[in-house]
């Protein structure tokens, strides 16, 4: 049924920290790698080494510039399905292929029922759905349902592939419907943002804005001086320390 289920208590989703994301695209690559063998496998990958590589990705990393002059920031911005509570991609679907799960709020596509009309991708403001031209069906982020509930994986690996791989720990997974979960605390502390709230889709995922810089907080902006371990000129510095210094500065 493409009617939305009654709002459940559990809202699984991602919290993405735009302060720590370094824009390495590891989440996007690991997402592609896992999902091309997972629930929605395979993901098309045309001309991967050629001039016009193309295919379905559930997660893409954009880079934005915000603000002006010395106050401006370069912000890497990973974008994937936000598993909206008012998911119009679900309600517009004529076949019932798109659905939102009542038990955890995850939005999925039943590929056996999808007719490939693409209307759901038109209804998504975040550009999260991508059409698989090989299979003739729509594909999207599954929040790695084949990992998060997978009992054959060690417990610490039962998180979405993007979260598992992020080297900067910029991605957090959890229940945003539970005000006491770690992710909810993070959102509260860092004033996590909802994307395009004015459209009324009520996305579950949240984005933590970059922290204000130390300089902007009134610090000098110059890194505090560290006491050197070895100061060759310091009095009493023996030959050994001078030697160590030479070796270390090679």
């Amino acid at each position: 049924m493409t009617l939305l289920p009654p709002k459940g208590k559990k809202k699984l989703g991602l919290v993405i920290d735009l302060d720590t994301c370094v824009g390495c695209h590891a989440c996007a690559v690991n997402c592609k790698e896992w999902n091309t063998g997972g629930h929605s496998a395979p993901l098309p990958d045309h001309d991967p080494y050629g001039a016009d590589p193309n295919g379905v990705w559930f997660n893409r990393v954009h880079t934005f510039e915000a603000g002006e002059g010395t106050a401006s920031r370069t912000v890497h911005f990973p974008r994937s399905c936000l598993h909206c509570e008012e998911a119009a991609c679900v309600t517009v679907c004529p076949t019932g292929a798109s659905y939102k799960r009542e038990e955890d709020g995850i939005v999925l596509v039943n590929e056996d029922a999808c007719i490939g009309c693409k209307l759901c991708s038109w209804a998504c403001p975040y550009g999260a759905r991508e059409y698989d031209t090989d299979a003739g069906v729509m594909k999207k982020c599954t929040l790695c349902i084949d990992r998060i509930y997978n009992e054959t994986l060690p417990e610490e690996d039962r998180v979405p592939a993007c979260v598992a791989t992020c080297p900067a720990s910029a991605r957090h997974f959890g229940d945003l419907g539970d005000p006491n979960s770690d992710v909810s605390h993070l959102v509260e502390e860092r004033e996590g943002k909802e994307l395009m709230p004015e459209l009324g889709y009520q996305p579950v995922n949240r984005y933590l804005p970059p922290r204000t810089r130390q300089k902007d907080q009134g610090a000098s902006g110059v890194g505090a001086a560290l006491t050197p371990v070895t100061d060759p000129d310091a009095e009493g510095a023996g030959r050994f320390l001078r030697w160590v210094d030479r070796v270390l500065s090679r």
Partner: protein, 315 residues
């Protein structure tokens, strides 16, 4: 939005078809035209060909046309599903009305009721086509009060002009249609003008700042897209036409859809057949070209909000 030819053909052809069938049923019921079986066969037949061709072409762009029947199931939430059901259901009163007109030679009693149901279903089907677009909050140019009236007017008017041309071929004097068509053309033009002014002046609510949540830092602009080549979303949603070209096409639409048909209909409809037939036929043809251009523009001028993630400055 990428203007897919199958969708443009579908909405213009089926729109004209529903308009033509509706006009035929209306004039049949009101005794505005004689219930000549040939006349009925040509108007209702041409209408049927147009709506069926349109429906088939709309299934042609599906990834899995063989599963199209599944689209009948989600009428509770989906306008696309409702459109599919209504479009299919319309064939029932259509066949019954055609039976009354062609076989029984009468549209009275139950056949009159069937004709009225047919009129209602034609309106509802075109209305639901418009609603598919009008309910998409992601596309400012479609999420507009004038979208559904626009769809209805274009369908009715295009149908009326074809109906008028066919009745001229049969030598029927139908000044009511000519008058209705001219008034309708002015009305459609008014609606379309309002629509164009609305999409030119009122942008969508979302901005690059709200799309990224970075507005507190300042103005937001794209530095690097995710990939060097275009992905599905960019190809499907990122089509945009140069403003200059859009203005030119709007003018062509004005001439072909409004001006030429109004002049031709006004000048020729009450003259002798050798002027009236080609005149009204040309009016209908010209309007059909105009609708196709209008529909193409409806897509090409529509900006999708997801393009804010790919460098668009407003939605």
């Amino acid at each position: 939005m990428h203007p897919a030819y199958s969708v443009i053909f579908f909405t213009t052809a089926s729109g004209a078809g529903y308009g033509l069938i509706l006009l035929a049923a209306l004039f049949g019921v009101l005794n505005g035209v004689p219930l000549d079986p040939w006349f009925g066969a040509i108007t209702l037949g041409l209408g049927t060909i147009l709506i069926t061709g349109g429906l088939l072409s709309s299934t042609a762009h599906l990834g899995h046309p063989e599963r199209a029947w599944r689209a009948y199931t989600q009428w509770k939430s989906s306008w696309l599903s409702r459109e599919g059901i209504l479009a299919t259901a319309t064939y029932v009163p259509l066949v019954l009305t055609a039976w009354g007109w062609l076989v029984e030679g009468s549209l009275e009693g139950p056949f009159g009721v069937f004709a009225c149901i047919l009129i209602l279903f034609c309106l509802l089907t075109v209305h639901s086509t418009g609603m598919i677009y009008a309910t998409l909050r992601t596309i400012r140019a479609w999420h507009d009060r004038m979208t559904v009236p626009g769809y209805l007017c274009f369908a009715l008017l295009n149908g009326a002009l074809w109906f008028h041309a066919i009745s001229q071929m049969f030598g029927y004097q139908t000044p009511e249609i000519a008058l209705a068509a001219i008034i309708g053309l002015f009305l459609t033009f008014y609606i379309k003008r309002k629509y164009w002014r609305s999409i030119d002046t009122i942008p969508g609510p979302a901005t690059p700042e709200s799309a990224t949540g970075l507005g507190d830092i300042g103005r937001v602009r794209l530095l690097e897209p995710p990939t060097m080549t275009e992905n599905f979303v960019q190809r499907e949603m990122g089509y945009s036409i140069a403003r200059k070209h859009a203005q030119k096409l709007r003018r062509i639409c004005f001439f072909t859809y409004f001006l030429i048909p109004i002049i031709l209909t006004g000048l020729t409809s009450s003259s002798d057949a050798w002027i009236a037939v080609p005149g009204t036929l040309l009016a209908a043809l010209s309007a059909s070209v105009g609708v196709a251009i209008e529909r193409w523009l409806f897509f090409a001028e529509a900006k999708h909000v997801s393009m804010l993630y790919y460098g668009a400055e407003r939605s």
